[in-house]
């Protein structure tokens, strides 16, 4: 398969690629502006989040516009790894929803965002097994049916596929990591199992591609093998990063000072995080009052109350970094 077949015509594919790139850069700008707004107000927003989110956006922009190195299949796999796996993780680690909730001024948009995040269909999609099926199911469909060959003939289909890869990757990563406030927090066991199943499905697909190309394509054997191994080991790296994200959450919450009568933070009633401090209430408070409340929670003094919205901050005993 010649490179012209992979990237047919300038029109649709390029247009879609540039649209996604523009979207990524806009999202990046909006994120940095929102973070700056928090900073001006005197609220803390850790800079590593700015860094990971920006990196994620740039990675998407790069993968959608540039041609990754290697043969056609290897290049396709690189794009899949960046757009569908690595960039979503970086974007989710930036906690964009949390930032939006904190930065938006009170108004309809500010109210609509949590409402959308808590809507029932969204909650179903964010169930980790469902998100895993959407993500990995799409990947299997692409590589094990005629879809892959069809995307090369129909540029519009190619654009839709690329968009789905990014969206599904974001959905899965968001559902597994659960760093932003959503309707229901899922247990670590459920999220870990979804990650295990998804990782296994990815590994099996990668090994299968080593032996047999997607139907209707004729990549060279060397290209196919390089691409398949890249997919296998690249997938491992992202999966380890996801596992570390989950493990850090577990480690931070475990053995935190407990509220009376409950076994631990994970046994808090759902929605508790939102009752702690109302998202909109970020008026600057007198320092005395802030410190008093923080000390009552067993927190090191000198941190602002709004530092710890919306999450678990207060009872975990770790320094607040939400």
């Amino acid at each position: 398969m010649t490179p012209e077949h992979i990237h047919p015509g300038p029109a649709w594919h390029d247009l879609a690629g540039w649209c996604v790139t523009a979207g990524a850069l806009l999202a990046c700008a909006a994120y940095l502006l929102a973070a700056r707004r928090l900073g001006r107000r005197g609220d803390a927003w850790p800079w590593p989040r700015d860094a990971v989110f920006t990196t994620g956006c740039l990675a998407v922009a790069w993968a959608m516009t540039a041609e990754p190195p290697g043969g056609p299949f290897t290049s396709h796999v690189t794009r899949h790894l960046v757009v569908g796996m690595a960039a979503p993780l970086l974007l989710v680690l930036g906690r964009p929803l949390t930032l939006a909730l904190r930065a938006l001024p009170p108004g309809p948009l500010r109210r609509a965002l949590p409402a959308a995040a808590h809507a029932r269909p969204v909650a179903v999609l964010l169930l980790p097994p469902v998100a895993a099926v959407v993500d990995l199911g799409g990947l299997w469909l692409l590589h094990r049916t005629g879809l892959f060959a069809a995307t090369h003939r129909q540029p519009l289909l190619n654009a839709v596929t690329q968009a789905h890869v990014l969206a599904a990757g974001l959905l899965f990563t968001f559902a597994v990591c659960q760093l932003d406030p959503v309707r229901r927090r899922r247990s670590l066991a459920l999220r870990g199992s979804a990650l295990l199943a998804a990782g296994a499905a990815h590994a099996v697909l990668a090994k299968g591609l080593y032996g047999a190309p997607p139907p209707g394509t004729d990549f060279t054997a060397a290209d196919l093998r390089t691409g398949a191994q890249l997919m296998y080991y690249g997938g491992d790296l992202v999966e380890i990063a996801l596992a570390v994200t989950l493990a850090v959450q577990w480690y931070a919450r475990r053995h935190a000072p407990r509220p009376t009568g409950r076994r631990g933070p994970e046994h808090r009633p759902p929605g508790h995080a939102h009752r702690r401090a109302r998202p909109g209430s970020h008026r600057v408070r007198p320092v005395q009052a802030q410190e008093g409340r923080l000390r009552a929670c067993g927190h090191p003094p000198g941190r602002r109350l709004s530092d710890r919205w919306p999450a678990e901050g207060c009872r975990t005993g770790r320094p607040c970094s939400v």
Partner: protein, 161 residues
Amino acid sequence: MNDPERPLRRPRPEPRRSLAVCALIGAALMAAVDEIVFHQLLAWHHFYDRSTTDIGLLSDGLLHTAELLALVAGFFLYADLRRRRALAAAHARAGLFIGLGAFQLFDGVVDHKLLRLHQIRYGTDVTPYDWAWNLGGLALLLIGCTLALRAARRSRAEPTT
């Protein structure tokens, strides 16, 4: 965690948990070593040789992913034990050997022989390799069991630590 409001509890070792956590780490480590040394460095095993059955491929993928997750989980569980000063060192050592041995034996018997995912080496008589592999696993497992028994006996002798 230095929390001034938290009462200081005396550290209490958790032998069973130490053993289980280190067994998990041991199994994951052996899987990783197998993959790195035999697949990557020596290239004795194949990445995928098409002769693998579908069920073999699925089990291979699951096992590989589980190994990665277990390695991460084991590290954090171990760190948690250390943080709470609940690590029972002798039990932990025993657990590590049990994990190493159990995985190697499992790999040798189930993956190589029952599922026939891959062989240790291709193009030669594989029997001596199989024997060395499985006996090595068995030896590690026995060392682990001996250490575990000894650790259990010692902790029974001095129950309050």
